[in-house]
Amino acid sequence: MVDLSQYLPILIFLVIALGLSTLFVFLPMATARLTGVYNPTAEKLSEYECGFPAFEDARSQFDVKFYLVAISFIIFDLEAAFLFPWAVSLGVTGWVGWTGMMIFLGILAIGLAYEWKIGALDWD
């Protein structure tokens, strides 16, 4: 059965880690104001560009290929999600489970082969 007392440390860890990193971000901001290093100017606060004001909005549209990578990732991640319980329960499911997974992998291998063939895995 699930031992919830093993999960509580993770929650406490999360709180402590969040606190630590928040402190690391905001404490220097406070000290900078106290020591007088804090001295923003319009030039300093402008975004980085090679010596001229930016021509256009930084958040431009980008290639649809990134979308394809993300969706391929979801599919293979789900495949991995199916593999996790399979890997630890083979002792119970035996050859039935093994054969079932091989068929599943075969189906997705077809998809991978199709992606490969059509050039969706090429990056250019």
Binding site: F26, V37, F66
Partner: protein, 351 residues
């Protein structure tokens, strides 16, 4: 530790809480110290390969260099660009660093010395490391500047591409170990090689996966030769371009903490974690955490050497390696490994 506080006359609940908080601090603070030292090691190795001296002024042998850098960075001004989304801009380094620390909650430092001994420990690490992408993407987007934005896109696509093969490689290790519990995985490696060597890596069916995991770990943490997210010749400093002061340093700390976590994973999954390398009774007298740290340090040294010697990949080469080489190969090895284990009756009653 809880027993110790109970013996001091505390109530069990309070003793448990105090012990847990102490345990967390015992992980988090030495980790930050380790990161500082590891950055120093990284620079020294890099310098040695390039026949330079590296940091050698602050403290003996320059040992205190990282602390001097930390102090300098701490006293600097935090610049938030006027075009940036202020809130998200400051949240991004917090996410990166928190996530980098969080993975260590399930890493076992000894048979008993593990903060959260959960059944799904390895999956937990996988889940936490998949969160790392958000710090980078949010940083790049919130900066509202061109180079960070490009870098964030690259980083996201790169990290998710290699997470796929990491997931499949983990499945192969799990097939042999039979559990997702970190201590269980380590225990399964005892005497794995001919009954004497405590490591999965000597298994010929797992060795190729170790190599793939090592390379995927480099790509997942965006270390050289896969550091395309901060390729200075094209993207200035990547998603960190607009950052300054401690928020900048947090990305560095987070990055190195992630690298150390990957080294720890390599040690735990393939090299027997806190077990001594050879199953020989006198070696067990050495505390487990020393073995683990030695292995982590060894892998970090390998990472450093790779950074110093291998030229950077191009983005299309990186994607090709991830999707066209590692993905099919790791799938193939799942079939081979599970088939072998089924055929040899490793699972006993199943067949």
């Amino acid at each position: 530790m809880t027993e110790f506080f109970v013996s001091l006359g505390m109530a069990y609940g309070a003793a448990w809480f105090l012990a847990t908080v102490l345990g967390i601090l015992l992980i988090a603070l030495p980790l930050m110290l380790a990161v500082a030292m590891v950055i120093y090691v990284d620079r020294k190795v890099w310098a040695a390969v390039a026949l330079r001296r590296g940091p050698n002024v602050v403290g003996p042998f320059g040992l205190l260099q990282s602390f001097a850098d930390g102090l300098k960075v701490f006293l600097q001004e935090t610049i938030v660009p006027s075009a940036a989304n202020r809130g998200l801009f400051l949240i991004a380094p917090i996410i990166t660093f928190t996530v980098a620390l969080l993975g260590w909650a399930v890493v076992p430092f000894g048979p008993e010395a593990v903060l959260a001994d959960i059944n799904v420990g390895l999956l937990y690490i996988l889940a936490v490391s998949s969160l790392g992408v958000y710090g980078v993407v949010i940083a790049g987007w919130a900066s509202n500047s061109k180079y960070p934005f490009f870098s964030a896109l690259r980083a996201a696509a790169q990290m998710i591409s290699y997470e796929v093969s990491i997931g499949f490689i983990i499945v192969c290790v799990i097939l042999w170990a039979g559990t997702f519990n970190m201590n269980g995985i380590i225990a399964a490696q005892q005497g794995h090689g001919l009954g004497v060597i405590n490591a999965f890596v000597v298994n010929p069916l797992l060795f190729p996966l170790f190599v793939m995991f090592l390379i995927s770990a480099l790509a997942e943490t965006a270390r050289a030769p896969f550091d395309l997210t901060e390729a200075e010749s094209e993207l200035v400093a990547g998603y960190q371009t607009e950052y300054s002061s401690m928020s900048f340093a947090l990305f560095w700390l987070g990055e190195y903490a992630n690298v150390l976590l990957m080294c720890a994973l390599l040690a735990i999954l393939f090299f027997g974690g806190w077990l001594p390398p050879v199953d020989w009774a006198p070696l067990y007298l050495v505390p487990g955490w020393i073995w683990l740290f030695a292995k982590i340090f060894f892998f970090f040294f390998v990472f450093s050497l790779i950074k110093a010697t291998v030229p950077r990949f191009r983005y299309d080469q990186l994607m090709r390696l991830g999707w066209k080489v590692f993905l099919p190969l790791s799938l193939f090895f799942i079939v081979i490994n599970s088939g072998w284990l089924m055929a040899t009756g490793h699972f006993g009653a199943g067949s």
